[in-house]
């Protein structure tokens, strides 16, 4: 038997799920797609006494477009999300990044909420949520609260969610009409965790950049939103020099660690290169849409 013993709970509704979490709290773990939690349990790095399996809470799997935002139920599978027409239409950045989250076999089980709650420092979705100023909804003993992306990610694998709270919804704001986007990442093998990755959204006014949004992953304990680079781009006419300047500002904003996969210097350098490429591609898409 790989994992340590646990008590298994299988709630059918959000109310049942939150009641179980209120009861077992610190001694419990929510099981969503299991693509991050079960490896940890199999290696006995995680040994929850109680496992609260939310896979039968059907009301948590949905994608709704409220006109401004895509509201995605926490249990919605990553694969279903990447294939949803609303996502292609309203937030193609999310679709493109999802295609690089692990492999199809992983995304068939892995959930949107699980990726956000797990907060892996190299996850794609966390960077996108931060870049778009998205938010999440959580339910706990004290009721329901909405948490902005910038207040959610605290450190490596750590969010501001309370262990007694169930993440119920993740909201990705739709891209503005006519905006260009790009997701770029570098990994050793297709589908592996990124050594560094960047998501970019450029909104245009005439021939100039109205606003730029940038989110980076793999280059620090939490996703990085390089404010200086975004400021530098806003209101300017696109050019290779501008992309280069933004790349430098990105390099100044990131604080990656080195590990066996790549050194800190490499990740910093690559974050800049990817930003330049992503800005170029995003602007091409602006022009195509115009």
């Amino acid at each position: 038997m790989k994992p340590a013993p646990f008590e298994y709970h299988c709630p059918r509704t959000v109310d049942e799920g939150t009641a179980l979490l209120a009861e077992y709290g610190d001694d419990a773990k929510v099981l969503a797609g299991g693509q991050s939690l079960v490896p940890l349990m199999n290696m006995r790095l995680a040994r929850p006494a109680n496992l609260i399996d939310i896979n039968r809470i059907e009301s948590l799997a949905y994608i709704r477009d409220d006109g401004r935002t895509l509201r995605i139920g926490a249990l919605t599978r990553q694969r279903a999300t990447e294939r949803a027409p609303q996502v292609s239409e309203r937030c193609p950045l999310l679709r493109d990044a999802l295609r690089l989250v692990g492999h199809a076999q992983i995304r068939n089980r892995g959930t949107i909420g699980g990726s956000i709650a797990h907060a892996d420092p190299a996850a794609e979705l966390t960077a996108i949520l931060v870049a778009l100023d998205g938010e999440v909804t959580a339910r706990g003993p004290k009721g329901t609260r909405v948490i902005a992306a910038r207040d959610l990610f605290v450190s490596y694998l750590t969010t501001s969610l309370d262990p007694r709270e169930l993440l119920t919804e993740v909201c990705f704001p739709a891209l503005p009409a006519g905006a260009g986007w790009s997701w770029m990442e570098i990994a050793r093998r297709h589908g592996e965790f990124a050594l560094a990755g960047v998501g970019v959204v450029l909104a245009a006014r005439g021939g100039t950049i109205a606003t730029a949004r940038i989110g980076l992953t793999g280059v620090g304990p939490t996703p990085v939103r390089p404010a200086e680079a975004e400021r530098l781009l806003a209101g300017r006419s696109p050019s290779e020099d501008l992309w280069k300047g933004a790349a430098e500002a990105v390099r100044a904003a990131v604080t990656p660690d080195g590990d066996i996969h790549a050194s800190a210097e490499y990740r910093t350098h690559v974050a800049g290169v990817l930003t330049q490429r992503a800005l170029r591609e995003a602007w091409e898409r602006v022009r195509e849409a115009a």
Partner: protein, 208 residues
């Protein structure tokens, strides 16, 4: 820990067993259903050897607990061949020397089933990306890529032929894998004859 009663269907046969909640689906399939074609390499989601189909979609059976599959329809590598006749994807792997020790092969085959269902006419790059979640220590992948390309052509030719002769209507364009057929439940796990009920199986690929 108390045991849980678990009932699920594998390759059209119903299995009932008892297991602790912490028993992985992969271990349940191997130890309680007696189907040892599903292999375990890493047991943390990386190698793909344990890949099976659950309700038609590939999953890592090492990353699920058996209790979670209660009521699910599973297909393992044992469900591909029709008696002694190999599934076209298996045949293509054989023809193109796409396996050496064979440890990774069940996972590759199940991945290929879903991949060709989703993308019946893949480019080589798409094949490589589609297989990236499975590791092979022997072949160097070249022949696996060739086998998948060949299987795609065989299946395309077969579904074209089927369309022309208007025989049994496949539910999906390529019908790489027919939906698991319904049979009566056979509770006994490991003592079950290996090919029980196989004759009733609806074949999906071309007869070779």
């Amino acid at each position: 820990m108390p045991l849980r009663r678990i009932t699920l269907r594998v390759n059209g046969t119903t299995y009932t067993g008892e297991a602790e909640p912490r028993k992985t689906l992969a271990d349940f399939i191997r130890e309680d259903c007696g189907l040892t074609g599903t292999h375990l390499g890493c047991e943390h989601g990386v190698c793909g050897a344990c890949t099976i189909l659950m309700d038609g979609q590939t999953v890592r059976s090492c990353l699920m607990f058996a209790v979670q599959a209660e009521g699910a329809e599973l297909t393992t590598v044992e469900g591909l061949a029709d008696g002694d006749r190999l599934h076209p994807i298996q045949q293509a792997y054989w023809d193109h020397h796409a396996l050496q020790c064979g440890f990774c092969t069940p996972g590759f085959l199940m991945t290929t089933v879903e991949f060709l269902n989703d993308n019946p006419q893949p480019t080589e790059r798409e094949i490589r990306e589609g297989l990236a979640g499975n590791l092979c220590r022997c072949t160097g992948y070249q022949n696996i890529v060739k086998a998948v390309a060949a299987a795609a052509s065989t299946l395309a030719a077969a579904s074209g032929a089927r369309r022309e002769t208007r025989t049994a209507a496949p539910s999906r364009a390529t019908d790489v894998m027919a939906a698991p057929r319904k049979t009566d439940g056979t509770p006994a796990a490991s003592q079950r004859p290996r090919h029980s009920g196989k004759t009733a199986k609806r074949r999906s690929g071309p007869k070779r």
